[in-house]
């Protein structure tokens, strides 16, 4: 079953290339759905604009090209961190795609120098909090049999509607109250040491 989910993640670059050619103009903004049976955590946060070394457009990748979150943030289902995609992964597509765009040229510069951009962290929890992406993806996607292409609904619980942004902006508070409200509403663990270990 897990394998099935994984297969769906892999969107061949050629297909993405084609879809990029097909779509033009601003994408239509669809409201982000909540995964069935989940009570979303309550709370909003007016995040700051965080300038990044490359102004990475989440909207083009997710909204226009329908790339699955976990295609790039590939560690989310395997580790506590979701992971920033390795530069080599970006170049897997961008050796061919949009090579005339200044942002891609900047990325290519990094790649040629064998460096990764120094991204600025947007979402974080304090060091004394043990948060695991893996556990949350397991509960809300794999255990809940949510079609993996809808994973953005789960990511969105804490990250908001990333597909409507260029560079990511924090729009949920990610405070203990925010976490606890969701744990209470959705049967998450309540022991202190589950998160503070």
């Amino acid at each position: 079953m897990f394998y099935k989910h994984v297969c769906k993640l892999v969107l061949p670059p050629v297909l993405m290339f084609v879809s990029l050619l097909l779509i033009s103009g601003a994408p239509a903004r669809a409201e982000l759905a909540v995964p069935p049976g989940v009570t979303p955590p309550v709370g909003t946060h007016a995040g700051e604009d965080v300038p990044q070394p490359i102004e990475f457009p989440h909207d083009i990748h997710v909204n226009i090209n329908k790339i699955n979150c976990m295609y790039c943030h590939t560690y989310a289902r395997r580790s506590k961190v979701a992971g920033i995609p390795p530069t080599s992964k970006c170049m897997g597509c961008h050796k061919m795609i949009a090579t005339d765009k200044p942002r891609i040229q900047k990325l290519t510069e990094y790649f040629t120098k064998k460096e990764s951009p120094k991204w600025k962290k947007v979402h974080d929890v304090p060091d004394f909090v043990h948060f695991s992406h893996e556990r949350h993806i397991k509960k809300f996607v794999f255990d809940a049999d949510l079609p993996v292409e809808n994973v953005e609904q789960v990511c969105g619980l804490c990250h908001g509607e990333i597909k409507a942004m260029t560079v990511a902006k924090k729009n949920k508070p990610l405070t203990m109250g925010f976490c606890r409200r969701c744990h209470e509403a959705n049967g998450g663990p309540g022991d202190c040491w589950k998160c503070h270990k």
Partner: protein, 736 residues
């Protein structure tokens, strides 16, 4: 306010609600430490290896070097960073456990005060230099040095590092390798060698039914604390073994004892002979008791012993009976006994008990020493620094190499180590930190942390199984201008014997070649040496051939133990007590260990002076008052801590503080009792008698709150821990 009455129940209710709402508000308050957006960098892998998953740790085996016990460790590495150290279950020393110092190994590594580049003395001051320049300087300065005018002073060392030190000295034709350790068991080892024919006998606590420990803090600071803690756990499980601890000041082990007996400091040996006499007299001694021994024991009648030691006669009889009833037993001697001016005789008296009780061959077994002598542990003691300081002061040294040792801090004040070192022609100090000794060097070579370096270790105390424990880097070095100890030693060798060592690019290559060429190292018939090497590193330890000795029991060295003399001017004996944590002071630069309270007094950071309530009353002192402790050598000032776990004739000042250098966490904090030690040397071993200094105490006109965990030493009448009367205890726990 007066109209607003709150009873306790209301108060709690208010607190409960208030607490809850505060908590909820608190839950939504983002902390400002790590939650700022866009402040921290996050850098992705450029092209990750297949098996790398950020956030998922990988564990590597290595060896702890926080003390000389040589425990095997596993280090958790995530995203190229070593984050956590735990015990390696494959290690026979520690069987998967570590102590707090082992845990704090990561702080020694990430310490912000590490040396990051070589330093060279220029115009009186140490200035940054490159490795090339520093090594060139060493080559120049040592070119014409030879023979015993070249010396190496190190901390405890073993394995291939010991081989390299030896090889470097050989190129000069020198035999002067001194090993300095403040916390050592060399008097115990000397006595074991003379009375059993084996300097490092294996102590089987797991087989013992009772342990009588004369100040051996085997759960804290004695030889191999984690090993003994695992042994002790077995001793206490099943039919619970009885532990009786006799010492002038309660140690961590004393705190766990069934019976804790305060003994007049320095008279432990007399008590041991008293128990021996009692055993013989009651016909409980095993085997033939030689006439000469009977003669020695004759005068140690209960009355005389009780008088000298302050331990009542009936108590001595009860201890004797407990040992007989709970056989086999094990009798140990630690620092307060070894450190007396009569240390050798006192420890001999203790060892005699093991012989009379029939413990030899039962709970004390012959050692299984690592087969290759060159790699065996040099565990050292204080004699090394004493000899070194004398040679230096007499201008008999042209070149001194110092590694993993800080003699300027650790040597007792009377050795005048700093002045002595000024007379050494050229001093090379290899260290991780700007410590007191580094500050006196001509060239300082900054070393890798233990987590960055290669090495092999052979434990001095191995619990009966000879192993070679591997130390491998858990991560890349933090500072590009630091080097591994083995690499530095190889550079020195290459300067002098370029051809012999040309084959080894670095210490790793040297280690791999040496280990692969050890007959026991690579399994027979294994063609693929790389696979065997990798398997070794994965496991972390290699069980090796051992030389198992045979005991030759000898009681001829047992002699009368001299009583300690009273002194009107200096009425108390100074106990420079050590503890698991700061150890001998090497861990004073670790905030975790500074912050971990002393296990008995619960004091954190700083220094303090421990005294008995009777002593305190005599001096008009209460906890927190500042006092001056004066010996014939000097004085120190610190706050008093008054408690019952110390003999009224003893004054304890813990070791570990009083650094004048050593980085931001250690420098300028507290006092060092070693600064005021009297120059008393134990005659038969040449070790410093660290527990033989007499002091006076005066109250100063200053008082402050002593910072320690917990506000009270009593239960204030509440039955938090249930207790039983001593008489009942004696009936149930068999203290006769």
């Amino acid at each position: 306010m007066s109209g607003f009455k709150v009873n306790r129940r209301d108060f709690l209710r208010v607190l409960g609600w208030g607490g809850a709402s505060t908590a909820l508000v608190g839950c939504d308050m983002p902390t400002t430490v790590t939650l700022e957006e866009g402040k921290e960098d996050v850098v992705a892998y450029f092209m990750p290896e297949e098996y790398v998953i950020p956030g998922v740790g990988v564990w590597y085996a290595s060896t702890c070097t926080q003390c000389a016990a040589g425990c095997g460790i596993h280090g958790r590495v995530r995203e190229g960073r070593a984050l956590k150290l735990e015990g390696n279950p494959e290690s026979v020393i520690n069987r998967g456990k570590t102590c707090m110092m082992g845990q704090a190994g990561v702080q020694a590594h990430y310490n912000p005060d590490r040396l990051t580049q070589p330093l060279m003395r220029e115009g009186g001051a140490l200035k940054p230099a490159s490795w090339e320049v520093a090594l060139k300087k060493i080559a120049e300065k040592t070119a014409s040095a030879n023979g015993d005018r070249v010396a190496w002073l190190s901390g405890a060392v073993s394995g291939h590092q010991a081989v390299l030190i030896n090889d470097v000295l050989n190129t000069f034709g020198s035999k002067q390798h001194f090993v300095h350790e403040t916390i050592h068991a060399s008097v115990w080892q000397a006595v074991a060698r003379d009375m059993l024919g084996d300097a490092q006998p294996v102590l089987r606590m797991d087989k013992a039914k009772s342990i009588l420990s004369f100040g051996a803090d085997f759960l804290g600071t004695w030889q191999s604390p984690v090993h003994f803690a695992t042994q002790y756990a077995k001793f206490r499980s099943g039919k619970r073994g009885v532990l009786i601890q006799v010492e002038p000041k309660m140690s961590l082990t004393g705190g766990s004892a069934d019976a804790w007996v305060a003994v007049r400091p320095g008279t432990e040996g007399i008590l041991a002979l008293g128990i021996a006499q009692n055993l013989v007299k009651r016909g409980w001694a095993k085997g033939e008791v030689p006439a000469k021994l009977k003669e020695v024991l004759a005068k140690y009648e209960l009355g005389m012993v009780a008088n000298a030691t302050g331990v009542a006669g009936d108590r001595i009889q009860r201890i004797t009976a407990a040992l007989k009833d709970h056989a086999p037993s094990l009798v140990l001697a630690g620092a307060p006994v070894e450190g007396g001016e009569n240390g050798y005789d006192a420890v001999s008296a203790v060892m005699l008990l093991n012989i009379l009780l029939g413990n030899i061959g039962q709970t004390i077994e012959p050692a299984a020493q690592f087969a290759e002598a060159r790699m065996q542990a040099r565990s050292g003691g204080t004699r090394g620094a004493l000899e070194f300081s004398k040679l230096a002061a007499a201008k008999k040294l042209d070149v001194a190499f110092i590694s993993h040792a800080n003699p300027v801090y650790h040597a007792p004040g009377f050795m005048k180590m700093k002045d002595a070192m000024a007379n050494v022609g050229f001093k090379v100090v290899m260290t991780q930190f700007p410590d007191e000794t580094a500050m006196q060097a001509d060239v300082v070579l900054p070393l890798y942390s233990a987590i960055e370096d290669w090495g092999t270790h052979v434990a001095a105390y191995n619990g009966g199984v000879a192993t070679l424990s591997f130390q491998q880097p858990l991560m890349e070095p933090l500072y590009k201008d630091t080097r591994g100890f083995g690499d530095v030693a190889l550079s020195l060798l290459k300067q002098r014997k370029p051809k012999e060592y040309a084959a080894f690019n670095d210490y790793y290559a040297y280690l791999k070649a040496s280990v692969s060429n050890m007959p026991a190292a690579v399994a027979k018939g294994d063609k693929n040496k790389d696979a065997a090497w990798n398997a070794l590193l994965q496991k972390g330890v290699l069980e090796t051939k051992a030389t198992v000795g045979k005991f030759k029991v000898n009681t001829a060295t047992v002699a009368a133990v001299a009583d300690v003399s009273a002194d009107v001017q200096f009425p108390y004996r100074l106990l420079p007590s050590a503890r698991l944590g700061l150890w001998d002071g090497r861990h004073a630069n670790s905030p975790w260990l500074q912050e971990s309270p002393d296990q008995i007094s619960k004091v954190v950071w700083g220094s303090w002076v421990e005294m008995h309530p009777v002593t305190a009353a005599k001096l008009g002192v209460k906890s927190g008052d500042y006092v001056r402790v004066t010996s014939a050598q000097g004085s120190l000032e610190a706050q008093a801590y008054v408690f019952n776990g110390i003999h009224p004739e003893a004054i304890a000042v813990p070791l570990g503080q009083g650094h004048q250098e050593y980085g931001r966490y250690a420098k300028g904090l507290g006092v060092n009792p070693y600064a005021i030690l009297n120059p008393v040397i134990e005659k038969k071993t040449g070790e410093v008698a660290a527990y033989a200094t007499r002091v006076s105490v005066t109250k100063l006109d200053k008082s402050a709150r002593l910072v320690h965990m917990g506000s009270s030493d009593t239960q204030m009448g509440r039955k938090l821990v249930s207790t039983i009367p001593a008489t009942v205890y004696r009936r149930t726990e068999g203290e006769a």
